[in-house]
Symmetry: C2
Subunit: 320 residues, 2 copies
């Protein structure tokens, strides 16, 4: 009963006829009416033969793409989470450096693609964005703004602090950057830092941002760069308060709501409210373990476009 895949439709002559018509229609772009005239058939007959040709598998339409993006995962993830855009690298690398390099390249391509000269682009500090900078070849002459202080650790290249300056140079537009750590020891230090002209000039631009680019971290002491900066005790305390994810110095609970903590007072960077107001928020994340953190950020409305890799994407679909 079920004709699963029987290429021979009715007989050899019918098959040859169907193939000829399919060639004229699909490959040579002839209209059905023209084909009907050529073969002495009604255009309805032609339409039916074409339907049969597709149903029988004689005409095969497939999406073929051999870049480094998994189109299927990208689409499914985008639709499942209601994102505007989603780019899933099909990298199977397991080491963080290679993953960051892949995501950085994809993020760079995305930025080049969507940014115009009228955009104001904000960049948080993250090692993935440092990879992005390395892969960035050209960018419309937009304005580039630093969103957060830096989280340097011993062993990280000193020049990494130059992220915003370098991107602004590549773009050929104005850049607003400053030299400051992301986390200070005292709230008062933050206040005095914000009084500095360099920092203040950057912060003043936050309201004008049209694109923001950040990375997501899980609130997991073995994974986080932040944990190293604040110490395990405070880190664990925040986890008890429900912190699940971290993004540009903002702590989020499992539903993406920003968690106000003592740490918030010592953080140098954009706040959740002003970030959420940015029309296009591009977020990178890698590592299957960050799935819940990413889901939290999306729930909180802090992600419009996601750049990630296959295994994390699959985990996100699993827990969606």
């Amino acid at each position: 009963m079920s004709a699963t895949r029987s290429p021979l439709i009715g007989g050899p002559a019918a098959t040859v006829l169907a193939a000829s018509i399919a060639r004229r229609y699909y490959l040579e772009g002839a209209t059905k009416s023209a084909i009907a005239d050529e073969f002495g058939l009604s255009r309805f007959k032609v339409a039916r033969l074409l339907e049969q040709a597709r149903a029988s598998g004689l005409v095969r339409i497939e999406l073929h793409y051999d870049g480094d993006i998994d189109l299927d995962l990208s689409t499914r993830l985008r639709d499942r989470y209601g994102l505007r855009r989603c780019l899933v690298s099909d990298s199977t690398a397991t080491d963080d450096v290679a993953l960051r390099a892949g995501l950085g390249r994809t993020a760079a391509d995305l930025l080049s693609e969507i940014v115009t000269a009228t955009d104001v682009v904000g960049l948080a500090w993250s090692r993935t964005l440092l990879s992005m900078r390395s892969a960035l070849r050209s960018l419309a002459p937009c304005t580039v703004v630093q969103l957060t202080g830096a989280l340097s650790r011993p062993g990280v290249d000193e020049s990494s602090i130059e992220l915003v300056r370098d991107v602004a140079r590549i773009a050929g537009g104005a850049g607003y950057w400053f030299y400051a750590p992301m986390i200070l020891s005292e709230p008062s230090s933050v206040r005095s830092l914000l009084a500095q002209s360099e920092v203040a000039r950057a912060f003043e631009r936050f309201g004008a941002l049209t694109v923001a680019m950040l990375s997501i971290g899980a609130w997991d002491p073995t994974q986080s760069t932040v944990a190293a900066a604040i110490g395990e005790a405070e880190y664990a305390e925040l986890a008890r308060l429900g912190v699940c994810a971290e993004m540009g110095g903002i702590q989020l609970d499992v539903d993406g709501r920003p968690v106000r903590t003592p740490l918030s007072e010592r953080n140098v960077g954009i706040d959740a409210e002003r970030l959420r107001a940015v029309p296009e928020i591009i977020v990178t994340a890698y590592g299957r373990a960050k799935a819940r953190a990413v889901r939290a950020a999306i729930r909180g409305g802090l992600v419009t476009s996601l750049v990630t890799h296959a295994s994390l994407a699959e985990e996100l679909l699993r827990i969606a």
Copy 2:
């Protein structure tokens, strides 16, 4: 400058968008308008993206067929020679028995496909048609008529004479057959044979034929079954008169015109005029060497459908 095969159209985001749209359109059958609404685009934009997707190779449409018919050769040969139908078996067999078996199967499928109960089917004598009979599984209850006498040789199965009777049995329709050789030694013998009721009853049907099935032979003493029947001397004499092909006892020159010869008077079978009047003339031929003979028969209007194999088809295209 020349983007030969760059799947990445404008950037990763554009590629994902194009892929999503292509999937909705080509794979899920959504209309362009519906897609435009879903993605917040105009339907023109959708149309352009789909065009780009096809041009860039992201959407690939191919005709895939894994039967034993070469669809491409079939179509090209049909179009080049203006045939109604053409079936080219992709058999690469070199021995005649295997070639005949393949063509016989294809011819049987074709006959089953196109014959209805109202048809009157004429069958000439040929070893390919004997293979056809062996492969024939079912046939509408048509009338079957013998078109020619038989050309038996020592070593050929005696039961081969039963061709028309067997096909009529498979069809479950009326059959008009007779036992007679194709070539007699004297014209007078032909006249007395035609007076026989069995033979006369078959010949009376020739005007009602709707389908005729024959095979083509080259006029080449090393190839022809006829040569064995009439002797090399007369055979060579006819070659000097311009005979190039043979088909159901009819000799044709290089342009397919019937050549009247002394042999014509001694031949038992349908004549060229009445054969040409048959609306559907299915012809089988195998062996690259018969290309010119086949071309002659087509030129003479004595072929509406051709059943052959790849190497002969290629040769026919070469000399077309």
